[in-house]
């Protein structure tokens, strides 16, 4: 082994990621982070270490991801191991890393850490920890607005939202969606026109396609034309139901429609992808990519807080070759709304109460 190590030129940069529980393959949050790694490898001659997919474009940048088990000190331990192994930049994906990453960052002042979705108080520009947040409500507002626009001419048509685990974070998605839908379609402002449902109370809610499918069936039966999900791995149940019902669905985090349409290993996926209208993009990949790019570019990484919002395309909605025809009629209107949000003219609510007030304010 020593010989091997001597042969291979040491990578100039080592970047590590510790995923959220659920890990790679969730077709959503973690995969998005993984895609960030892939782009990094491509653009900066890097490789992903021990990756079954063998992503390898050179040896300049070593990329590594790990997956913890739930509970205990596991997250902290994995962050520490990566630190000890000399990784320069380490990401913790998910709010569950909040405490552990703060502790580890203190112990390894020369390593930089980035926390996705969590919030550690009192960070400064020269901290070695950056909190990366997303304005999910803004992206959700746009897909909500799109849904509203698409059903505006059908007074009875409803829209729906399926949440995974009942968490404040997921309510952020819901609030934005409600606000957007109500904003563009006044029919939807009436009570009971925007359906909402959470799958469960624990982590398994993000991995329960059966229940998601069951909820989706009810929503479509009850008149929903479009259903948006923020339910991680459970979302697959929504998409399949959408296909069966011949109705539309909206994905989350990554461009899920594109994922389905371009999946060559999986012929059935294309059939389903047609029913995925768009996805609310939460560009975890972008966050990973941009932060790492700064490091590789030689900049000293800035600590503190960084929010990815509509303004910097950190969130958004997916427009790709497959859905551009369907969305074509609405993109202009959506761009206009986006501008209003960026300018602050529209303040998108981020929780249930805010959403209710927002809808009331529209009447």
């Amino acid at each position: 082994q020593k010989k091997e190590a001597a042969k291979a030129p040491a990578a100039k940069f080592k970047i590590g990621i510790v995923f959220d529980v659920g890990g790679k393959g969730d077709k959503s949050f973690n995969d998005s982070a993984y895609n960030g790694l892939v782009s990094l490898a491509k653009d900066f001659k890097g490789y992903i270490k021990d990756d079954p997919a063998n992503v390898n474009f050179g040896t300049d940048v070593e990329l590594k991801y790990l997956e913890p088990k739930q509970g205990g000190q596991d997250r902290e331990q994995l962050l520490r191991v990566l630190s000890e192994e000399g990784y320069n930049l380490i990401f913790g994906v998910g709010f569950m890393f909040t405490d552990s990453i703060a502790k580890v960052a203190k112990d390894f002042p020369k390593t930089h850490y980035a926390l996705i979705d969590g919030y550690v108080p009192d960070l400064k520009d020269d901290s070695n920890l950056t909190c990366l947040a997303f304005a999910e409500q803004e992206g959700s507002f746009l897909v909500g607005a799109l849904s509203g626009l698409m059903v505006a001419d059908k007074p009875k048509a409803k829209v729906g939202f399926i949440g995974g685990m009942d968490l404040p974070l997921i309510h952020k998605f819901q609030a934005g969606f409600i606000a957007g839908a109500a904003y563009t379609d006044k029919n939807l402002r009436a009570k009971g026109m925007i359906l909402g449902q959470y799958i469960g109370k624990d982590g398994s809610a993000f991995n329960d396609p059966k229940t998601a499918a069951s909820i989706a069936t009810t929503m479509y039966k009850n008149g929903s034309e479009i259903v948006y999900h923020a339910a991680g791995g459970s979302g697959t149940g929504l998409f399949e139901t959408a296909k069966a019902a011949g109705k539309l669905a909206i994905g989350v985090d990554s461009d899920q429609g594109l994922g389905y349409m371009t999946n060559d290993k999986d012929p059935a996926a294309k059939e389903i992808g047609k029913f995925i209208l768009t996805s609310m993009l939460k560009r975890v990949d972008q966050a990973v990519y941009l932060t790492s790019k700064d490091l590789i570019g030689g900049a000293t990484l800035k600590g503190g807080y960084r929010t990815f919002s509509l303004a910097d395309n950190g969130v958004g909605y997916a427009l790709n070759d497959f859905n551009k025809d369907k969305l074509g009629a609405y993109t202009a209107k959506l761009d206009e709304l986006k501008a209003k949000i960026v300018s602050g003219e529209i303040k998108v609510p981020a929780d249930d109460a805010g959403a209710a007030d927002f809808v009331k304010g529209l009447k």
Binding site: D99, Y119, L169, D202
Partner: protein, 364 residues
């Protein structure tokens, strides 16, 4: 070597054979995955015994596993099949956390109080299944499974609703407020270093280690030295005989069930009071089932549970070792853990058959 010693030797060798056999299977899998066994072995070594910090991490990881195991084992001893350890530590941990957050106490009193309240919480969560078992004869397996689900929903509501500690912006985690510093489980690492064991500060060897040691000792002492422990074991062996002998069977079963719950209440302490400093619904999940395996591999004895919990902790670390240093997927370690348990118990059986055959031969 005397005959008895020979048999004891065989019996101790059984788990070792199981361990080795599963390691061989691991090597096979590693080869299938296309990794070199030497590299895998090195990876496991690095993450388990290569340095003090790793060894200490195994010990630290074993703490909640041990507590879960001993909680299950104590119930088993009384013939109580407590599948509800998980729900009990969800709730017990919550009650302990409340004590840690709201009781204004000095540290010397606060730490014992949160331990006490966690035990009370765990016992309370076992109370209804225990009463239903004793008074109505309703199988505890079904009630405790139900109570696990109920606990999960309940603490979820508590943490999201009335006791939500969402402070400031950006904090999106459903969690309680932070515990008072007086309730924190401080690390003992400095003490270990003073004793010559060079544990770095990053490892969680905290008060929960003491809690686990005390709990283990108390359980052993109660079971094997106290009269009430004899009653517990008698009831677990034969309720009919116990009843006949004047042991208050229902009272003992109720008490043992509650004690099992109280022990279960301790499982989440390390995570709440040492690692996180607040309570979330995610506390140490899954340990209830691990506890069953740990208790049974440890043959429901406190000493056995020490070893089996260390074994489980070792396996967990080994899994991370493979993940960090090789391309062997994390899942392999579950495969190995499951297989190892099966192989150990089967070897145990084969060895005792062999011993019986030997004895028979010697009898002629």
């Amino acid at each position: 070597m005397t005959r008895v010693n020979k048999y004891t030797l065989y019996e101790t060798v059984a788990p070792l054979i199981g361990f080795l056999a599963s390691m061989i299977i691991l090597v096979v899998i590693v080869i299938i995955v296309g990794e070199s066994p030497a590299k895998a072995a090195d990876a496991v070594w690095k993450m388990t015994f290569s340095k003090t910090a790793r060894v200490a991490t195994i010990l630290s990881t074993a703490i909640p596993l041990f507590l879960a195991g001993i909680a299950v084992a104590f119930g088993f001893r009384a013939g109580v099949f407590n599948i509800g350890v998980e729900g009990q530590y969800f709730f017990g941990g919550f009650v302990g956390a409340m004590a840690g957050i709201y009781l204004p106490l000095p540290a010397w009193l606060h730490v014992p109080s949160v331990v006490f309240f966690a035990m009370i919480g765990g016992a309370l969560w076992a109370l209804i299944p225990a009463i239903l078992k004793v008074a109505r004869g309703i199988h505890e397996v079904i009630t405790t499974i139900m109570f696990n689900s109920i606990a999960l929903a309940l603490v979820n509501w508590l943490v999201n609703g009335p006791f939500s500690g969402l402070a400031g912006k950006g904090s999106l985690e459903a969690q309680t407020a932070h515990i008072r510093p007086t309730a924190a489980f401080l690390k003992l690492n400095a003490g270990f270093r003073a004793l010559g064991w060079d544990v770095p500060d990053s490892v969680y060897l905290d008060y929960s280690l003491i809690v686990a040691m005390i709990a283990g000792f108390v359980v052993w002492f109660v079971l094997f030295r106290l009269r009430v422990g004899f009653d517990v074991r008698a009831v677990g062996t034969s309720p009919d005989v116990s009843l006949y002998a004047g042991i208050r069977v229902k009272r003992i079963q109720l008490g043992a069930f509650l004690a099992s719950g109280a022990l279960a209440g301790l499982v989440g302490l390390q995570e709440v009071f040492a690692i996180r400093g607040f309570y979330t619904y995610e506390i140490a999940s899954g340990l209830g089932l691990d506890g069953i395996a740990i208790a049974l591999i440890g043959r429901n004895s406190p000493v056995g549970v020490v070893f089996s919990s260390l074994l489980f902790a070792f396996l967990k670390q080994a899994g991370y070792g493979l993940q960090v240093y090789t391309k062997v997927p994390n899942s392999v370690i579950y495969v190995i853990t499951g297989l190892m348990i099966l192989i150990i118990v089967v070897t145990n059986e084969l060895v005792s058959r062999y011993i019986r055959a030997l004895r028979k031969k010697e009898a002629v």
